[in-house]
């Protein structure tokens, strides 16, 4: 109803202009603006921090153990005497990279399998969805922990494993979106004209489910980050001495009754990033006109 701005004179746009349009719409609401700002800040920080980190992140110095914040060490030092500020600004790099690529993998396999199932329907769809359901019912943390503990915590293990476990939820969304589209007359019309299945997927279905899948992918990114940090926190993510927020929180936690700074700094870093991605994903969904608040976070 609200779009009674004059649609008839709206000029057709190039795809770049469309992307810019979406971003402008996202930034026009305060929550979207804050989300985007936080996300951009974190990305820039992650890319540039190695150049301006004041200290060496792994330099252990027993004489500087658990120093409170000061002009020298802005966020204080940790139990091994390492600079918390340095470790905090570097602490999001691994998480951001791994989860970003993980989300892309999740998006691709989840999206494609979902569209496929939605399209073919019938027996095959039933079987695949049963299996997806079964995977959904195994808590992600158990499966991830098992894989990581047996295969190791390298990037080559983490990215595909996260990508796999967070993609199964996308299968459902993509399948539902495909189902919605498939009932529409323009698909019936394409079928009646005799187009091939591939051409129908590519020309008619994909452009119409793309938005829903992208939004889902953006959402997954924030959950995956949450999952990955939980792994790190439990000691199954990145290995020390690599700085990582989850791990830093876990290490500093035992001593937080007298060195709260060592735990607060990474908490702020991680929480702000997750909130930033979440707000951005929400604004993205709204800008594309998708309501996803009724969906469960599976």
């Amino acid at each position: 109803m609200e779009n009674s701005k004059n649609i008839f004179n709206e000029n057709p746009k190039s795809s770049l202009a469309k992307v810019l349009d979406i971003i402008t719409t996202m930034a026009s609401k305060p929550s979207g603006f804050i989300g985007l700002a936080i996300l951009i800040f974190h990305v820039i920080l992650a890319i540039s921090s190695p150049w301006f980190a004041p200290y060496d992140y792994k330099a252990i110095n027993p004489s500087l153990m658990l120093n409170a914040p000061s002009s020298e060490f802005w966020f204080g030092t940790d139990s091994l005497g390492r600079d918390v500020f340095t470790r905090t600004i570097l602490g999001g790099r691994t998480a951001l990279t791994i989860t970003f690529f993980g989300s892309i993998i999740a998006l691709l396999w989840g999206g494609l399998l979902g569209i496929f199932c939605g399209l073919v329907g019938g027996r095959i769809d039933d079987i695949v969805m049963r299996i997806v359901d079964a995977f959904l019912s195994i808590p992600w943390i158990l499966a991830m922990l098992l894989i990581v503990s047996l295969l190791g915590t390298t990037t080559e293990v983490l990215i595909p494993a996260l990508g796999f476990f967070y993609g199964k939820g996308i299968v459902r969304v993509a399948r539902a979106a495909t189902h919605d589209v498939i009932a529409k007359d323009f698909i019936v019309s394409a079928k009646a004209r005799g187009h091939s299945n591939l051409s129908i997927i590519w020309n008619e279905i994909l452009p119409n489910v793309r938005d829903a899948i992208l939004v889902e992918g953006a959402m997954r990114w924030s959950w995956m980050l949450l999952g990955f940090s939980s792994l790190s926190f439990l000691g199954f993510g990145v290995s020390p001495p690599t700085p990582d927020w989850g791990l830093m929180i876990s290490n500093a936690r035992g001593l937080m009754s007298f060195a709260w700074w060592a735990v607060i700094a990474p908490i702020v870093g991680l929480s702000s990033l997750i909130i930033g991605i979440n707000l951005t994903a929400d604004a993205f969904a709204k800008a594309l006109g998708i309501d996803r608040s009724t969906k469960a976070p599976v």
């Binding site: 701005k5 649609i7 529409k184 007359d185 009646a192 187009h195 020309n203 008619e204």
Partner: protein, 676 residues
């Protein structure tokens, strides 16, 4: 003069656009509703009818607000009352019967509870009195066995029954004013006629004032004393129903009336150019200026005022209304002469049956036929090259099902479909060759659904061109431009998305896409049902011209009998997936022989208060066709006992070329018809 029950004074309602601009959707509405009269509000979709009706109850939708004016009910301004005060009035003094009662009844509450709720709120009956009253009300709206009805949930009733329940609920509070928003839209013709009859009786018995909102002038003509015509948020014409429908002195109403297909006239109705402007996009002068045939320069800059013409008791918003007074509303229509039917068969449906029932795995394995009562059965139709054959019938009569099986989207269970005399069309789309696929194209009811919202017009039209003719580059582009020109649209439409087009323009694109394949046959599924009347006439006109130009054959499905009469050469009447009558449309409409055809055509509402519908049969809905005997036995007013129940009626052909399926002879049927 009777006293006014409601007075609306200079009412304007609008909303704030995203850019903060204030946009009006109702502008300076001033009118009165008098005690005991029924007033109709007509207008195209988006003209603000519903918004006005809701304002009459003091209800403004979320996001809208009143910019000026008031809405007085017995000199109390409803728009300034608080919720508590409104609760006192709503349902008790003013009640509403909504469009689409199916969605307006709360799904988790029983019918009886919902009516009782209204009684409890608005009367002081005791519990037992209320129970009695519920039965009375359900009886009053002619629902069978009220006791059982009251225990049902809304989804257990048919559309017509739900509408009746809504009426009963509105009557519960004994209101002085009853507002009806499109109460019969979406119902089958026969049901619609019955509900209107009921409303008329209620108005007569209770003396309640009614406001009847509708886009359908046929319905308005039947029930209203006075009519208000709205266009783009304004009242453009207001007066007694006979004056408005017979001597319309506003150019819009004049054009609108001429664009409605009527049973009493042969051929296509005249069409009106353009479409209604969107709110916020209305020029500085008269809002109808762009589409008006009577306009002059004055109209472009000055807004005409609503002017009362006392000798006609009519108010009109037009500078040049006097020109229209002189034109007699005698309507001559364009001469679409029905073609003599030449036998040159292009499509042959032989004994076609179609079933939606899924076979169980075991039956599939044993190759056993389980569905003895398929949705569509025994369809025999020959279609000749260049003719337009129409399939008519109520909802659920299997019209679209037959189209789908011709297009190859549904398998036939029995029988076959032959194309071009010798080619047998496979029931499996994948097995049809590209040539057969190209020859048969489909146009759908709702262009919003049939055009990919993420494609531009160019992409949409290039699909068939690429697929069938392998066109690319400049050839493709020029073909698209050519197609657009064929459907009377400029080449600049190429880069637009469907959402940037109006309903009529979208349907033109759908037509262009079908013609892009240069087909021999086009299957049209309710192609004008989603369009406004004035736009519908233009699309029908376009289809007719293209056909004359290219010699295409149409299979035209519609529930609107007047539209079918206007465009078709032959008609096939279906009931519950079985053929009842088939013949040249001229004859079928003139002498509807089969009892069902008679019922159907009798129920059509003409936009003329002096032509009343004939209600011959009850409007019961049947969920399934009967297993044996005549398909129409459940509702047939002329049923002759066990023969009809047990034996499938034979085909008989009358001297005028109509073929019907009935146990009673054609001549005998004619005699029976003339007796009542």
């Amino acid at each position: 003069m009777k006293t006014n029950i409601q007075e609306i004074k200079d009412l304007s309602i609008g909303f704030k656009s995203q850019k903060g601009k204030q946009i009006s959707i109702l502008r300076n509405i001033t009118t009165n509703i008098r005690k005991g009269e029924t007033v109709g509000i007509v207008g195209e979709s988006g003209s603000g009818k519903s918004t006005l009706a809701l304002a009459m109850m003091g209800y403004i939708k979320h996001g809208l607000f009143t910019t000026r004016g008031e809405c007085l009910f017995k000199s109390q301004n409803l728009l300034s009352l608080n919720n508590k005060e409104l609760e006192e009035i709503r349902g008790r003094k003013i009640a509403m019967i909504p469009q689409n009662a199916g969605q307006a009844l709360t799904p988790n509450l029983k019918i009886g509870y919902q009516i009782e709720e209204a009684l409890r709120l608005h009367t002081d009956y005791s519990k037992t009195e209320r129970e009695k009253k519920i039965s009375e009300l359900l009886n009053q709206v002619r629902l069978p066995s009220p006791k059982i009805m009251a225990l049902r949930y809304p989804h257990e009733l048919s559309g017509g029954q739900q509408q009746r329940v809504a009426v009963a609920m509105a009557l519960a509070g004994n209101p002085e004013l009853l507002l009806l928003d499109e109460p019969t839209t979406g119902l089958d013709v026969t049901t619609q006629a019955h509900v209107l009859e009921l409303l008329k009786d209620i108005a007569k018995d209770t003396g309640t004032s009614m406001v009847y909102v509708s886009h359908d002038l046929g319905a308005i003509a039947q029930v209203c004393d006075r009519v208000i015509v709205m266009y783009a948020g304004e009242i453009v014409l207001e007066g007694p129903v006979r004056k408005i429908l017979k001597e319309p002195i506003h150019p819009y109403t004049y054009g609108l009336l001429k664009s409605i297909p009527k049973l009493s006239l042969a051929g296509l109705p005249d069409s009106m150019p353009g479409s209604q402007p969107q709110p916020g996009n209305i020029g500085s002068g008269c809002s109808f200026y762009d589409r008006c045939n009577f306009s002059n320069d004055k109209c472009k800059v000055n807004v005409p005022k609503l002017e009362y013409i006392s000798e006609m008791d009519t108010s009109v918003r037009c500078f040049n209304h006097s020109e229209l007074i002189s034109i007699t509303s005698e309507q001559k229509s364009k001469n679409h002469l029905q073609k003599e039917i030449t036998i040159d068969e292009i499509l042959d449906l032989k004994d076609v049956s179609i079933s939606y029932a899924k076979q169980g795995i075991i039956d599939q394995f044993l190759n056993k036929v389980t569905d003895t009562n398929p949705t569509v059965k025994d369809i025999n139709i020959n279609i000749n090259k260049g003719e337009t054959i129409a399939l008519v019938g109520e909802s659920g009569s299997g019209k679209s099902t037959i189209l789908k099986s011709i297009a190859g989207l549904l398998k036939t269970k029995d029988g076959y479909i032959k194309f071009d005399k010798e080619k047998l069309l496979s029931g499996d789309l994948k097995k049809r060759n590209s040539e057969d696929l190209r020859s048969i194209q489909l146009i759908f009811q709702n262009p919003d659904e049939s055009l990919n919202p993420n494609h531009t017009v160019e992409q949409i039209l290039s699909q068939p061109l690429k697929l069938y003719f392998g066109l690319t580059g400049s050839k493709l582009k020029s073909s698209i431009a050519e197609l657009l020109e064929k459907v009377r649209l400029g080449a600049f439409y190429m880069s637009r998305y469907p959402r940037q087009l109006s309903g009529g323009e979208k349907q033109r694109i759908a037509v262009a896409r079908a013609f892009a394949a240069r087909p021999d046959i086009i299957l049209c599924d309710e192609v004008t049902s989603a369009l406004d009347v004035s736009v519908q006439a233009a699309v029908l006109d376009l289809l007719q011209k293209l056909k004359e130009e290219l010699g295409t054959t149409y299979v035209f499905v519609s529930h609107d009998l007047a539209v079918v009469k206007a465009i078709s050469d032959r008609v096939a009447v279906l009931y519950q997936g079985r053929l009842c009558e088939i013949g040249p449309s001229k004859n079928v409409y003139q002498f509807p022989s089969h009892p069902y055809t008679e019922v159907l055509i009798g129920a059509v509402l003409e936009p003329d208060p002096d032509i009343k519908p004939k209600l011959v049969a009850e409007d019961i809905v049947e969920e399934k066709p009967p297993e044996i005997g005549c398909s129409f036995q459940g509702r047939c007013p002329r049923i002759i006992g066990d023969k009809c129940r047990n034996e499938t009626p034979p085909w008989q052909i009358g001297d005028n070329g109509n073929a019907i399926r009935c146990h009673i002879g054609i001549e005998e049927l004619k005699i029976q018809q003339s007796q009542c």
